[in-house]
Subunit: 468 residues, 3 copies
């Protein structure tokens, strides 16, 4: 018996379901455009086999290990590396068994659907993962991973990826991207400019990162002008490796448009590590406006991913470091926060700023009204914690009526979990088709328009918004 | 082929759909009560033909031009007048073509449904608006507008409007209302008292407006007592022209109940233009409580429309002025904000205060709990950005269980777009009938009660709440 | 004709409805676990007849009288006692008639469904309550109440209650619990430790309560150590009467983990009544962390019920006192607020902290992400104002995808209205089965898993989370 229902996520009522299926049939096999995510470019560069099932599905995926952690499973028992290099479980099979015996925890979650999709479609599995089937699963997946058709490049082709974007720090040397480029492989893997480490005075190593950017570019990044020029140079360098976008992960959506002298003074304080929390915040906010101005020069699309309260648990941060599932959303204001940037450049239709949120109360109250009037703004898809069937449905229900479909940008998978890419895009396509079918079935959209929109939401809008 | 589906907005499942249709059939032709809106009384007074299709549908409707603006269309190309009187497009046909070629942007939005409803029901059109049909549309609508049966008074009757309320500034001379009254036309067009311009110290011309109110009433509005008396006199004057309500559009729902000496002192500062932002806010808040007290004297129903961050774009404000689609909602607190007013007069059941919101997170958390206990409070319908099928559905789902139906007040169209009035009321009737049908189909309401409620929500509650 | 639809609250589409009914049929008759609520232990101790229909259904139930109040009915006319002992209506039949003539106000509310369920299932009534049937209803219910099978203990058994938890102040003598224990009745009625009165410096009688706790325990509660020891002793005393949980009703979810000397100093200020609002808040916050530490010692499960702005109307508070329906929710932050407690003890999987909310915007943004990673956290069910069909549906839709089902704890009725207990559990079972059926019908869950989950959500999770 297949793990997946062929009609999953479609409306339950017959006519709407038929409409959804017809819409989906026309887009299910469209190529995947993945304009934002966190897969490792090294995979595509080296094309090595993935090490083992636990390393593929459990240990690196915070969606998975955070749920196990929430029910008392120790991160060390899942092989999550410790900051101090202390002992953690290294036996993939033991980790896998622990995962399998807790698989019921994922009932009703998107992780369950992504995992089952990977098991069925990538590994051809037709039985459910349980404590009893754990070993069979482990052996089966491990056997597959040893075969050439399960190497990253082969899967990339099999997944139908037309283009995938990774995200690198501004100071990254892009060596894996260079290696891909210099190889004979024709997969389109491009980078995106993520300058948080040279923009956020509160990041560890800020001053060193800025100094490194100076060495990389030949500009004197001890000066404000040199620092801005170094950004320009690094953006140009990223563009050589295909970058069409920058990405900004800030604690809030605050922007500022300070007088240049004031910004320069803040920058000096930041270099000296003397910024107060408020000054650091102001500096980050001002730099978003500088980045927007540079986007008007070089055409990079700007993404803002605000609102994560990162590393919520001091204990976990101390023991395991960043990105361990303890990043928690918080209330995020956009209306006041974005005003300085929007007053500076918001009416420019040759600028594209894509907004994301971890606070879904902002969809209908703030984001849709803003994107529904400012020419530069577009809404990114339902993000983190909302990258799920219900989350995506609410995104459409709460944004479409005010901002329409054409101020949105299609789907991002935003994932580190390679095998989940087709699964996530499939969920998005199904949810969008279900939404469109419901509009048709309730007389809010004509059927021909729904077909056109299904293709737009799946493929065209992402290519257009990200200039791919 | 008709533009509209006969069963639009009804539930998709058969039995629930049948129930919704039966409910709707009983209320579809009830007269329209429009107790709050912004149509121009001059239309009804002069009964002139509307100038052209673009002037009817595009140029004055911020729902329409903000969407076009969001996709890079220039407001000047849509004929939106400039503050400096500089050149803008004046050729209605060119504006119309621009609009038509972007009509796909409105897919899935209420504007699309309102426009199609107007095209079909007001102008008898049965083909979709596209770049190709733009000229045909323009000619057809222009022809219609030249005919007497498309004059405002004729449409008023054809739309089945029993009563419509416009909104005038406290210092308005109500000349158009006088002209209507003195004419032989029997349409019921009444005014509402909107004193923001004489209450908000931060409004341009506040002191001049207050002085004008003094001239109009003979009271010395340089004094606090004279100012309050002038309000009383103007309210009485508005009542002569049928007013049954006042309306208050404040940045927040803040109320205050200050000692009279303190309020008087703030008023003096306000007249001198010396109020800090906080003092201006406190003064506005205090005046809401004064208005509520006057309502207890003269019986005017009080409407509070808080939470719009107006004129978000400085550039648009400078070039085009107010009300250009750049009013963005923000988070709005009611629980703390309304307490001073409610502690002063909230337990009075002879007072009616109707609350609106642009922050739908307040529906279930604040507004329904407040309206579900305070005798003076009622909930206005889903407002601006939520005046849509999904927005109205969420309003019912998030308020009914706590506040019931009888603490709501039926529908307001709140529109400046005359032809959209029947379209908007039709959407509201359909959404309410769909909601009631769902309650019946899921055993939460008896069918006879649903029929009674459908009539209440369509007609009775608005008349009762607004004392019409 | 029965008052209730057999298929109420199930999905409207046929296949999903059939699935829901099948799931429900397997759990409808499971025993009731009521792990949190406010029924009066005296009822079970004395087993006296309830006085009259109005005293059973109207006068003590703030869900009922707040709705009547919102439409202008005076609380005195409903027999709600006055603080000053002044006259109120005492004739049960007159109160009942007033209630009956306003019964239409409850259309679409959970109160209506709970009341109709009680009328049909407890009192065997098959006609609707109206002004016309009011007297018949009154006589019929009064007749029933006079019969032994309508005494509290008989109803307890008939309702199928396996265990019910009441809530008592830390200084309560638990006399009724003792009387139950010493009786020959085998109903399982246990207490819960609610120390707000000895933790909140802003509560009336705080210092006296603390002193009383000293007398009760023999510890010197004038000292910080003695105060903490007295808590330990009272918790142990409550455990003798079966307590497995503590309960904390704070204005916010703020926690603190202050140095002991600082906490001790705040405690001294609190005893002297000298705490500022901020200091009182900090003290309450710190005590939550102390309570969590004690839970690690004695195993009591900790419940946090934050966010009610109590006694919103000064007039009602002065005339009628607390708990009169004027407790209004407000925005509640959890992410920042809980961090001190979570940093202290949040990674302990032998601790259980159950979080509730009156601000449903926190479900998906804060509570599910927190409970989806911290081992100690669990989510309480949809609470107050959300203890309704739509409220419970939104709870599942907004928490399951991030936190799963197993970080939730089943249902709480949290009621003071005895007859509503089976009604409320029935609604919860139906809504959960409808949700599970929808997951199955949309391919998100296998049918066998849905059956297991239906039982978990109805019975197992509550027993496990509350250690019952």
């Amino acid at each position: 018996m297949p793990l997946l229902d062929e009609d999953r996520l479609f409306p339950v009522e017959g006519r709407a379901r038929d409409l959804a299926r017809a819409l989906y049939d026309n887009v299910r096999d469209l190529p995947i455009i993945s304009p934002h995510g966190h897969t490792d470019p090294r995979w595509y560069a080296e094309d090595e086999a993935f090490p083992d099932p636990a390393q593929l599905f459990v240990t690196p995926d915070h969606y998975v290990f955070r749920m196990l952690c929430s029910q008392g499973v120790e991160l060390t028992d899942l092989g999550v590396p410790r900051v101090d290099g202390g002992p953690v479980e290294t036996d993939g099979r033991r980790i896998w068994r622990l995962f399998a015996s807790h698989y019921h925890l994922f009932r009703g979650t998107p992780s369950r659907m992504w995992l089952d999709h990977s098991f069925q479609h990538v590994f051809g599995i037709d039985r459910r993962l349980t404590a009893e089937t754990a070993d069979w699963y482990y052996d089966h997946i491990a056997d597959c991973l040893a075969r050439p058709e399960f190497r990253p490049r082969a899967l990339f082709k099999r997944f139908g990826i037309e283009a995938i974007v990774t995200t690198e720090a501004a100071t990254d040397d892009l060596r894996w991207h260079r290696m891909i480029r210099e190889s004979d492989w024709d997969g389109r893997v491009i980078t995106a400019y993520r300058p948080d480490g040279v923009i956020d005075p509160e990041m560890d190593g800020f001053a060193a990162n800025v100094a490194l950017m100076g060495q990389q570019t030949g500009f004197d990044t001890a000066t404000w002008q040199g620092y801005l020029d170094a950004h320009r140079a690094r953006r140009a360098y990223f563009k050589e490796f295909g970058a069409t976008s920058s990405d900004h992960g800030h604690p809030s959506a605050r922007t500022e448009d300070l007088p240049q002298a004031e910004a320069a003074a803040l920058f000096q304080k930041a270099l000296r590590g003397e910024c107060s929390a408020e000054e650091a915040d102001a500096f980050r906010g001002h730099m978003l406006t500088e980045m927007a101005r540079m986007s008007l020069e070089d055409g990079l699309v700007m993404q803002i991913h605000p609102g994560s309260r990162r590393n919520h648990s001091g204990q976990v941060m101390a023991m395991f470091g960043r990105d361990k599932g303890f990043d928690i959303p918080g209330r995020t204001d956009y209306v006041t926060a974005l005003r300085p940037l929007l007053n500076a450049v918001g009416m420019r239709s040759d600028l594209t700023v894509i907004l994301f949120t971890l606070d879904e109360t902002s969809y209908s109250r703030e984001l849709a009204p803003l994107a529904g009037v400012y020419p530069c703004l577009r809404l990114g898809p339902a993000w983190w914690f909302y990258d799920s069937a219900e989350g995506m449905r609410r995104f459409r229900e709460m944004t479409t009526e005010t901002a329409g479909f054409y101020n949105t940008v299609g789907f991002n998978d935003d994932t580190r979990a390679f095998c989940s890419i087709p699964a996530r895009h499939d969920v998005a396509r199904r949810v969008d088709c279900a939404y469109l079918a419901t509009l048709v079935a309730t007389g809010r959209l004509a059927e021909d328009e729904a077909h056109e929109l299904a293709r737009d939401l799946t493929y065209e809008l992402a290519k257009r918004a990200y200039r791919l």
